[in-house]
């Protein structure tokens, strides 16, 4: 994919060519159909444009489809072809093999860049085959930093990768353009009064629509597979018992790290709990007031204003936690004698409380608008019955409406909890980086999302458990939030049906 034609990626240039063929096919087929019909569209089965569209469709869709599949599949084939070049002793375990293969890719990419910038000429690379010791410095100058010296077999594999990739790209270009031409030609030949062009086009469009709808499923599959693969790699390098049941989180780049999810899970749940303690009462009471007491004018002003809180990007809340709420809390609960309360409970601005409070603010509109919908869905007859028995408004709310709406509200709270668990920016900036299990809300703790960010940013090495652990964390997070959502949606849905 790094290869380019005139500065544009091959795929882009190829797409433009295919679209060009499709347009020519469109014009040609439409004209041919009209000519065959003697210039009178009434003699045709379908409107003339449909003949054009058949040609465009036949030209573009198979060709572009093949191109996308090719782009996905080629790296895999190349990798398999290169593998025999690497001595078996070096690929004893999957981790080492991945490391070497990623080195090979980096060297191959680096050689491409070096040649395009003129830092190397192909003959020089061939000359280096026996002793590539100064390749690392050369690649360094073109911005491709390598972790270790280039071994001769890595260079050989990289050269083969480059050769195969270039060959593959050439074949891709040829195949795709041929397919486009064949498709356009077929449709051109078929164009004529007897050809049911509209039906063909509509079937094609339907297939495209189905394809678009399945993309959502494909995304989910992609998420699960990508995380599953790397998680499996992680569990090969690291004991799963330590990950799920261990007690400490201490990544260590010399290896032999403690990578246990429990302290992170504790931090995540603690912060989410505080966030819910803030958001649920405020959100719920706001929803009750808005749906039961407020007149339409107050409602039409207060509801959108509250919902602004949900539209503010999380980075803003993160900054608010780090620079405003954190220091304010330190002024109140920290600084010993100089502080507001004269206590010394808090030493830094980042803490469970900081992140929890700010996250709570973010979740208020989430809880309130969901609960609002649910309270509104409670039938008026229940209220009228309660009023008729002489209950006051608040008694009606507490004893009739809330019990009736309870399952829905529980669902809303679960959805809010899943939001809180997956929230990233507020905890990255506000919660701190120390993994510990403690009940003190004034201490800094860390969360699953924070660790994913820190393990996957900066220099990452996809053969070390310290990097791969992020995928296992991500998978756990995904399963956790997905589970909460499924349960919440199930509860909300069952509840809604109750009164319909």
């Amino acid at each position: 994919m790094t290869a380019t034609i005139l500065g544009f990626p091959t795929a882009l240039v190829l797409s433009v060519i295919v679209i060009g063929i499709a347009i020519i096919g469109y014009v040609g087929a439409r004209k041919r159909a009209m000519d065959k019909a003697g210039g009178d569209a009434r003699n045709l089965h379908s409107l003339p444009n449909y003949y054009g569209m058949t040609a465009a469709m036949f030209a573009a869709i198979p060709a572009l489809g093949v191109m996308v599949i090719w782009l996905f599949a080629q790296p895999m084939f190349v990798q398999n072809a290169v593998l025999p070049l690497i001595p078996a002793s070096e690929t004893a375990n999957a981790g080492a093999q991945n490391l070497i293969l990623s080195d090979v890719r980096r060297v191959a990419d680096g050689l491409d860049v070096a040649i395009s910038q003129g830092a190397l000429i192909p003959a020089e690379i061939t000359a280096m085959a026996g002793d590539p010791s100064n390749l690392r410095t050369i690649l360094g100058t073109v911005g491709m930093a390598l972790g270790s010296e280039v071994q001769p077999y890595v260079l050989a594999a990289a050269q083969k990768t480059r050769a195969l990739s270039a060959q593959g790209r050439l074949w891709m270009v040829v195949t795709v353009i041929t397919l486009a031409l064949i498709g356009a030609a077929l449709a051109l030949r078929a164009a004529g009064p007897a050809f049911r062009a509209r039906n063909v086009v509509e079937r094609g469009i339907l297939a495209l629509l189905i394809g678009a709808a399945s993309l959502a499923v494909l995304t989910t599959v992609g998420i699960v597979l990508s995380m599953l693969f790397e998680s499996v790699n992680f569990f090969r390098l690291h004991d799963w018992k330590d990950f799920f049941l261990g007690s400490s989180w201490a990544p260590n780049f010399r290896g032999d790290s403690d990578l246990s999810i429990l302290p992170l899970l504790w931090g995540t749940l603690y912060i989410s709990l505080i966030a819910l303690l803030v958001a649920v009462p405020i959100g719920l009471f706001a929803a009750i007031y808005l749906s039961e007491y407020a007149n339409s004018k107050v409602r039409s002003i207060a509801k959108p204003l509250l919902e602004i809180l949900a539209g503010i990007p999380t980075i803003v809340y993160g900054l608010f936690a780090l620079l405003t709420v954190g220091p304010t809390l330190v002024r109140i609960f920290g600084r010993g004698e100089d502080g507001v309360l004269g206590v010394e409970w808090m030493s830094g601005a980042t803490s469970v409380l900081t992140a929890g409070l700010v996250m709570g603010i973010m979740l208020i509109p989430f809880v309130s608008s969901l609960s609002d919908d649910i309270i509104n869905a409670v039938p008026q007859s229940l209220r009228d019955g309660s009023f008729g028995l002489g209950a006051t408004h608040s008694e009606t709310v507490r004893q009739v409406i809330l019990p009736a709406a309870l399952p829905g509200i529980v669902g809303a709270i679960l959805l809010a909890a899943s939001r809180a668990i997956g929230e990233t920016m507020i905890v990255v900036l506000g919660a701190g980086a120390i993994a510990r299990v403690s009940g003190n809300p004034f201490e800094a703790m860390t969360t699953i999302t924070t660790r994913i960010v820190s393990q996957l940013t900066g220099d990452t090495d996809f053969a070390s458990p310290e990097t791969l652990v992020a995928f296992a964390l991500g998978l756990t997070l995904f399963v956790l939030t997905l589970g909460l959502n499924v349960v919440a949606l199930y509860i909300v849905r069952t509840y809604r049906e109750q009164y319909e």
């Binding site: 790094t2 890719r105 509509e202 499923v217 719920l284 900054l319 008694e395 994913i452």
Partner: protein, 443 residues
């Protein structure tokens, strides 16, 4: 027969129990009002904080100095050959500025014990580069006296904005009290003042040592390219998926799976999409790290469910009579959808798309994983392909980057960046609301 015992008094006088119940009623209502007030108070505090802390970033302290572009220093050979002039590095320009500042101090009659070099330390590290660019662009001006407006050091800027005080600089190596005296003198003279700083909006990020020169411009372009990718991919795919699910899909278990999938995808934490992007687009497909194209692809996957949900709602709101009428005059099912239903649903779809884009614009977490932070995007891209493929940042990622740096001068810029980001979001949402008001049809 005895008289029935009266448990209640007069209807006109409340008994204790009624009073209690009424009090409970009032209390309950007060809780609701309090909850809403707290919510609105938080919103107000947030907005006041943003505006209060961020507006400073749009102003910067500049000092106006006449600089003699001394030929002896800049063009020793005297041949005005650009190649020779280029040999003078930014270090060669520093004495010119010291001299200019010294002359200014003498002319304004400010008393100071500072050496010229220490005086020049109140200027930004960027100032010499500004001067050099000017000379390289206008070599004919060598030997003349030209008036320049230089950025000052971020500490001087902080002094004018109240962030840096004479008490707070005791341990600061970058500035001392004598320099602040000089600054006071220059303020009195009128040469040094705060003014609007366009470079914050249009400029590029700067290194840790030059917060005064950092700007949002380049990351704005990065965000723009990402939004372009999201729009080009998410809108057609989202609309196509919604049309299928709403108009054509048969009711069976496959459709059910797709529907459940979409509603669950909408609730997947955004960072998970970042992991997907890293694993699939960067590690597997080898798309370049930090490229807006990758960011756009990840945000597309994230925005799709939002767009699908809102598009389906607007397709659903088109009454069946429209479809029936189209079918009645001989349109095929496909024609009825594309010629009649879709145009009528277009305003709703557009509104949903804009709201989805606004969401994507403010999203940060997935961008951290695909490497859109941690480097300095110094040059604006010069073509569409470099805009899509060259490393760049995005607005929220830039804000995060500034929030992590140690110098408090960057915090002000982070808040200022948030103001710019919010202006974009408010504009987009306002357009969406306007579209809805203007074109919404009630059937």
């Amino acid at each position: 027969m005895s008289e029935p015992t009266r448990t209640h008094g007069s209807l006109l006088i409340q008994d204790a129990r009624t009073r209690n119940r009424n009090r409970a009623e009032t209390r309950f209502k007060m809780y609701g009002i309090a909850a809403i007030s707290i919510g609105l108070l938080m919103l107000t505090i947030l907005l006041i904080t943003i505006i209060g802390r961020g507006t400073g970033a749009f102003q910067q302290t500049f000092v106006t100095l006449p600089v003699e572009l001394s030929a002896a220093k800049l063009d020793k050979k005297g041949n005005r050959d650009l190649a020779d002039i280029k040999k003078v590095s930014t270090f060669g320009y520093t004495p010119l500025m010291s001299a200019a500042l010294e002359a200014k101090v003498a002319q304004a009659g400010i008393e100071t014990t500072l050496k010229p070099k220490a005086m020049a330390a109140i200027l930004s590290k960027n100032a010499a580069a500004t001067l050099r660019y000017y000379v390289l662009a206008n070599p004919q001006m060598i030997g003349e006296v030209v008036e320049f407006t230089f950025l000052t050091n971020s500490r001087v800027d902080g002094y004018l904005k109240g962030r840096v005080t004479r008490d707070s600089i005791a341990n600061d190596k970058n500035i001392n009290a004598a320099q602040l005296d000089l600054v006071d003198g220059l303020i009195a003279d009128g040469a040094l003042k705060k003014q609007f700083n366009l470079a914050f909006i249009t400029g590029a990020d700067a290194s840790d040592a030059r917060p005064e020169a950092a700007g949002m411009g380049v990351s704005m372009i990065g965000s723009l390219f990402m939004m372009l990718v999201v729009l080009v991919l998410a809108l057609p795919i989202g609309v196509a998926a919604s049309i299928y699910l709403e108009e054509f899909a048969p009711k069976n278990w496959i459709t059910d799976i797709i529907e459940v999938n979409i509603s669950n995808l909408a609730a997947v934490p955004s960072i998970v999409f970042g992991i997907l992007g890293l694993a699939v687009f960067i590690n597997y497909m080898h798309l370049p790290n930090s490229a807006p194209l990758v960011g756009g692809l990840v945000l597309t996957l994230m925005t799709l469910p939002t767009i699908i949900i809102s598009t389906r709602a607007s397709l659903k709101s088109v009454p069946p009579s429209i479809r029936d009428a189209a079918l009645g005059v001989g349109a095929s099912k496909m024609q009825s959808v594309f010629h009649h239903v879709l145009p009528l649903a277009a305003p709703g779809i557009l509104t949903g798309t804009i709201i989805g884009l606004a969401q994507a614009l403010g999203e940060t977490a997935p961008l951290l994983l695909i490497g859109m932070v941690g480097f300095i995007a110094s040059n604006a891209p010069d073509s569409i392909s470099s805009g899509l493929l060259d490393p760049n940042s995005a607005m929220p990622a830039q804000i995060y980057e500034w929030a992590k740096r140690a110098d408090p001068a960057f915090y002000e810029r982070a808040w200022g960046g948030i103001i710019i980001l919010l202006v974009f979001l408010i504009t987009m949402n306002a357009i969406a609301i306007m579209l809805r008001r203007r074109f919404e049809r009630r059937w």
